[in-house]
Amino acid sequence: MIRWALLLLGGCLLGGVVHIATIIMLPRTATRDAYARLEPITPVNTVTPLPPPTSDAAAMPYMDPAFASAICRYDLSQGPMKLSVPVRTAYTSVSFYTNRDVAYYAINDRAAGRRVIELDLMTIEQHNQMPEEEDVTAADRLIVESPSLTGLIAIRAMAPEPGLMPQAQSAVAAAQCRRSDDVKGSR
């Protein structure tokens, strides 16, 4: 009797370990998370507008139908990125996610305080390697540090009324995200 009680206790302890292990492992093995859903439809390092969610189809569950959205799936292994988003409608926001869908930064049009939201995205190492003087002249530049090499930038513009949706869609479609080197080279 005592033997079975001890075995049951052992089983419960093992159950706890299994529970914690599966919870921690799940985000790494998930095949239907937002990043995995968006990866096939979004080319890397460019802005891809997402189709508005309908009752038949949506890129992700729980998308807000009042927003026009676009995704920039980034890969910083080749160098930092530059992002610019025009502010045209009532409310525009830019949210940054790691490749495990963890939101690490977000900014909206009012916090950015301009007609265009402009940001530099780089890893912590790339930020540390930046030349000192460039950091000073770029004092008004907003630098975002990504904790991961790859991830997602969600660009979203609100249409307070359905009639303003085309305007919101054109605003997110006009957003640009590209490697900083390419921007310099084109000048």
């Binding site: 089983g11 139908p65 690490y104």
Partner: protein, 192 residues
């Protein structure tokens, strides 16, 4: 033989308890730091790098991108103020005011997070579209058939979730449930 039987028993108990615990935790959304006000629940920490393992697992399983804290906050209601699950065949009234925010939207989803199909193609309201009373409060009726005022069609689905998103708001990680965050009431008015 006894050793083998014992080992198998321990492994079986471990697998059943561990996996069912994970299943129910994800199904119920058992992340830490829930902010519950009336029928509404939000997990502000889910939109930050401090998201706990339960929140991360839940996000990965559902497949959504959480609302980041610098953007806004997402409240969801699956049942009314009395705990009755939201039923698309009933008239449900969402009335009152919201915490201060630059904009808010309210959206009706089925339990899978898809927009509920309906004949008029309306899935929610924004704070600008809503018709308000003289005192600034509003009243939305989620019902299967057309209603005067702010009608949110349910399409007659059995179970649905209402999601209230506040954008550019002070409500966040440090918010405690209380009088400073007024949320609209959710009342089931009548079922056929």
């Amino acid at each position: 033989m006894r050793l083998l039987l014992g080992t198998l028993f321990v492994l079986a108990v471990g697998a059943v308890i561990g996996l069912s615990g994970t299943y129910f935790a994800l199904k119920r959304g058992a992340a830490f730091g829930a902010l519950t006000i009336g029928a509404w629940t939000a997990w502000p920490k889910t939109g930050t790098v401090d998201a706990d393992p339960y929140a991360r697992a839940s996000i990965a399983r559902i497949g959504l991108l959480p609302t980041a804290v610098g953007d806004g906050i997402t409240f969801a209601a699956e049942s009314d103020d009395k705990g009755k699950p939201l039923d698309g065949r009933c008239d449900v009234v969402v009335a009152g005011i919201t915490p201060s925010a630059r904009f808010w939207t309210i959206t009706l989803y089925n339990r899978e997070g898809e927009l509920a199909a309906n004949s008029v193609g309306r899935h929610g309201f924004t704070s600008q579209e809503i018709v308000r009373g003289a005192d600034g409060s509003f009243s939305i009726v989620a019902a299967p058939r057309a209603q005067p005022g702010n009608w949110l069609p349910t399409g007659g689905i059995e179970r649905y979730t209402l999601v209230l998103r506040l954008y550019d708001t002070a409500v966040g990680v440090s918010t405690r449930a209380g009088r400073e965050v007024p949320m609209p009431s959710v009342t089931t008015r009548g079922c056929p």
